[in-house]
């Protein structure tokens, strides 16, 4: 039976596609969801406009403390008038270009390292030279730079220093611990398990206390460690235990066949690890390692408690000044934004990496 049939394409029902379809399916599908959407929109309407007014419209951006107290909205002047101290601490005012330059070098290195195609030997050397240069810039004493004692270091450079050196030094230590924990030698294995479980079981603050109060007792008379170094050691010891667990996960994920193949070629333990196992295992655990870096970055804020002038403590010092007292909200929000930007870009990067790696390069 033949019919003159028009093969005109049928369109999906109007409530399925386009804006209407999206709104119906994502906001109002079902009674429960519809109620939720309405309640949420109402709450947003109650909260967001007043917040916006407080933060942007009624706020003072660059005034004195007194004028700020009269403003109805947020006082962002506490940041804009004090940012040099908040960011650089007690570092001599005229020399502050040096920590600034050091931070720029760090960001430059980080930015360059984002592209995995750059991960070659020269980059490792660049990092070593970079870190060395940063330390030199901060400390001074040669090349015509005036010497600045570490007691005067503070603010953002201190936070970044503690985090970066912390993770850099903790990484090899963590790898050794992980290998030790998986070793067949019972003595070594026991020692590593003891260390890892002990460190992971206690809060970082107890280690910081230990480092600032107990470490000096461990040293012979006359030898002193400066405070920053003590805190740095505590952070390194702490982070290494967590990195050890992360690396252990990667080692466990390697199939036995890899170890067996390396052995059958005749590689000894050291070569097997260096050439076959570790390159693969460490690559597998890059995402959790970046996550550990993010944690270390956040954890540096704890040095506030042992009175090191990281960016949190410098902020609190500003707030204890009578002129700026009472504006904690604004100051803390600013610091929170800084931390958030740092951590968010790192976790974003980690997610991107994870996707790349799971697709198989």
């Amino acid at each position: 039976m033949e019919q003159a049939v028009q093969v005109k394409e049928l369109r999906p029902p109007i409530t399925q596609i386009g804006v209407i379809g999206w709104v119906k399916n994502n906001l109002f599908n079902g009674v429960f969801n519809s109620i939720l959407t309405i309640v949420t929109l109402f709450l947003l309407w109650k909260v967001v406009p007043p917040l916006f007014r407080w933060a942007f419209i009624d706020s003072a951006w660059h005034t004195t403390g007194q004028a700020c107290k009269q403003a109805a909205g947020a006082c962002w002047s506490v940041i804009s008038m004090n940012y040099r101290f908040i960011l650089f601490g007690f570092y001599p005012y005229e020399q502050q270009w040096r920590p600034f330059l050091a931070i720029m070098i760090l960001f430059g290195l980080l930015f360059y390292s984002r592209d995995r195609n750059h991960w070659k030997k020269p980059l490792a050397y660049a990092w070593i030279i970079g870190l060395f240069t940063m330390g030199l810039l901060m400390k001074g004493g040669i090349f015509g730079l005036s010497s600045v004692e570490s007691t005067q270091w503070g603010g953002l450079p201190l936070t970044l220093l503690l985090a970066v050196f912390g993770v850099t030094a903790a990484y090899p230590l963590g790898v050794i611990l992980a290998l030790g924990r998986r070793s067949k030698m019972h003595g070594v294995k026991a020692l590593c398990i003891l260390y890892i479980e002990l460190i992971r079981g206690v809060p970082l603050i107890s280690l910081l206390f230990m480092s600032s109060i107990v470490f000096p007792l461990f040293l012979p008379e006359g030898v002193t460690f400066n405070k920053i170094l003590r805190a740095q050691v505590a952070i390194i010891l702490f982070t290494s235990a967590y990195i050890a667990e992360v690396v252990r996960g990667g080692l466990q994920g390697m199939s036995r066949g890899q170890y067996e193949a390396a052995e059958s070629i005749g590689l000894n333990y050291y070569l097997t690890m260096r050439l076959v196992i570790l390159p693969q295992a460490l690559k597998i655990v890059i995402p959790p390692t970046v996550s550990q870096l993010i944690s270390a970055f956040k954890d540096t804020s704890l040095v506030v408690i042992i009175a090191l002038f990281d960016i949190l403590k410098t902020t609190q010092s500003v707030l204890s000044n009578p002129e700026w007292m009472g504006f904690s909200r604004e100051a803390y929000v600013f610091i929170a934004i800084l931390y958030f930007l740092g951590c968010f870009s790192m976790s974003n990067y980690s997610r991107k990496l994870e996707k790349e790696l799971s697709r198989g390069d």
């Binding site: 049939v5 028009q6 093969v7 394409e9 049928l10 999906p12 029902p13 399925q16 596609i17």
Partner: protein, 274 residues
């Protein structure tokens, strides 16, 4: 905008089709037919995945659907037990119409059994518990009776000795046979198979196909999406070829493989029969 109906020539045993205009769409669907698709359309967003499907399956009839990936064959059978929702047209299963009525859907699901490509056994339950789950919680059968039914069907698929094991301890072929037994425990009137052997190693395909052939010989109504043409030849009443959301042609197995009518069918067959 006028509605125009796609014309689908369907050749088959005693099925009257072709040239439907809007008035004839109101035909009754109860002449010993198990499943009826009447001008069914489905879209995923803008993608028109089912374009006017008209299909009729009698009781005890066995149909094999084949076609390239993306042709809509899985979507078609998933519409039968409402795992996918169609947007136009009607689907009627054993006299019950498939609409947005929960009671209808539940009744239909109790009568339609489905076997998945990836088995989907519940890994935290033993084999027997997997099979007894439906009878206990849906048909409200006492536990002893449910377990007896389970053991009966496990015997049928020749895997009774694994009753107390967990799915993770079984091979792929064994798991798929258990999956078939799990569906049978609900006493379905129709069994749907969505590429049941595609995820199996070659040496395990035969054990699953043998079970399906036994099932066929007992008179179960079956709709099977598969590439296993040997199975189609030996057991199917009709083989349908789907492409781009339409049923392009359908015929008895001998006619289908010997005289494919459309170019697309010929192309597809040349690719899978080698």
């Amino acid at each position: 905008m006028f509605l125009h109906v796609q014309l689908q020539p369907e050749i088959g045993k005693g099925i009257v089709k072709g040239g439907l205009n809007e008035m004839n769409i109101e035909k009754k669907a109860s002449e010993g037919q198990m499943i009826e698709f009447i001008d069914v359309h489905k879209w995923f967003g803008e993608f028109h995945v089912l374009q006017g499907i008209n299909l009729s399956v009698d009781k005890q009839e066995r149909i094999v659907i084949c076609g390239p990936s993306g042709s809509g064959k899985s979507t078609l059978i998933r519409c039968i037990n409402r795992l996918e929702e169609h947007q136009r047209g009607r689907i009627v299963v054993d006299g019950i119409e498939l609409i947005n009525n929960i009671k209808n859907i539940e009744k239909i699901r109790a009568e339609v059994g489905m076997v998945f490509q990836h088995f989907n056994l519940f890994p935290h339950l033993t084999i027997v518990q997997n099979l007894a789950l439906g009878p206990i919680w849906v048909r409200k059968v006492p536990k002893k009776e449910a377990e007896e039914t389970a053991m009966y069907y496990l015997e049928k698929v020749h895997i009774a000795e694994q009753a107390c094991k967990y799915p993770g301890q079984l091979s792929g072929g064994q798991q798929q046979r258990v999956a078939i037994a799990r569906s049978l425990c609900m006493n379905p009137k129709v069994m749907l198979f969505d590429e049941p052997t595609s995820a199996l190693d070659p040496e395990m395909i035969k054990e699953v196909l043998d079970v399906m052939i036994e099932l066929a010989q007992e008179g179960m109504t079956m709709i099977v999406v598969t590439h296993e043409m040997g199975f189609a030849r030996s057991v199917a009443h009709k083989v349908l070829f789907m492409d781009f959301g339409k049923i392009v042609e359908g015929n008895t197995p001998e006619e289908f493989f010997k005289n494919p009518q459309h170019e697309r069918t010929k192309l597809f067959l040349s690719q899978i029969l080698h």
